[in-house]
Symmetry: C2
Subunit: 204 residues, 2 copies
């Protein structure tokens, strides 16, 4: 009996630093998670490789994936589709490997429906003031956009009840350590491992 991998979903409000935390985790040598490769209809940028950076598809192909329910979640941004292919996730989990998704809150809620047994981690800003600072220092948004984002963040924070864990992003390194600790701990959960041990005992 082989332990199935864990689906780890990192999500959280806009501007909380999900991408930074994800990049830091995957820059660490001892990270054993597999990053879930997204499907997109966006054109490849220089150096991007199909099947490594993204699965590049046409709009027709993507829409047929939606129809066939082959996407765990999907969304449209600036005229392009982005989504998470269920086949890749399923295949990797069944090989006993942990799969890591970093997605927006709405996407995470879609994934929860298909994978209720996933590990849903909500990345929290240290405070809403801090979130405001982070949004402002990007320097690319108007005051109105910032205010809307803050309001949206407040609403998204109330969504944390749909998650299993809340990790504060006070320091990127600490946030990464906590996420890795959560995955280590989950691999020790009795419900998950007891069947494997009982089998072992029965063989002595």
């Amino acid at each position: 009996m082989k332990e199935r991998g864990l689906l780890i979903v990192l999500s959280g409000p806009s501007g909380v630093g999900k991408g930074t935390v994800r990049k830091e985790i995957f820059s660490q040598e001892d990270t054993k998670f597999h990053y879930s490769i997204s499907v997109t209809t966006r054109k490849p940028r220089t150096g991007e490789v199909d099947g490594i950076d993204y699965f590049f598809k046409s709009r027709t192909e993507f829409e047929s994936m939606i129809e066939q329910e082959r996407l765990l979640e999907w969304a449209e941004f600036v005229g392009n589709y982005y989504g998470t292919p269920v086949d890749y996730v399923e295949k990797t989990l069944s090989e006993g490997k942990d799969v890591f998704l970093e997605i927006e809150v709405q996407g995470a809620l879609q994934v929860r429906k298909a994978f209720p047994e996933g590990l849903f981690i909500f990345l929290m800003p240290p405070s809403l003031d801090e979130l405001k600072n982070r949004i402002v220092t990007r320097g690319t948004e108007s005051a109105e956009v910032i205010e809307n984002r803050l309001q949206a963040a407040k609403e998204e924070i109330l969504l944390m009840d749909a998650y299993d864990y809340v990790v504060e992003n006070d320091q990127v390194q600490l946030a990464c350590d906590r996420i890795k600790a959560i995955v280590t701990a989950e691999h020790c959960r009795r419900e998950r491992v007891a069947p494997l041990y009982k089998k072992k005992i029965s063989e002595v």
Copy 2:
């Protein structure tokens, strides 16, 4: 609102190495757990200090603690009582500190009744063969005693269903890392921290 500390209960079959793992954890500088000081009727050994190594009590005092339900769990070994004082545990938890207990399986089941919200960690031998080796190499037991212990261990392993986590003691350092990861993860559990965050949001 201050987060209450966690009660961490490490238990497992005889000979699995609970004491070794506990000593290793408390020898590490970054360990922030508080070791729960036991009450005993055994006489202090040279160098042992009341309130640090043990709370030393007379049999009459100990028996009155049993009657007054001031012990989370207790047992008698070789004519002496040993127990876990509920006052010390409660006081330390309410100060927001994590309390660590290392006890036998029967004691852990007693603690679970009083503290269902505790973190119950079952330390597993890598295999029953390995457990047998460990018992044998102690070299102080007869074959019959060993066989009885093995049988008891098999029965105790079936008790793992009463625990939250199962940690394999394949290597002491790895077991310690897993235990610490479990505590870190539990401090991020949404049910535990969501009320603290929601209060913070309401204050922005």
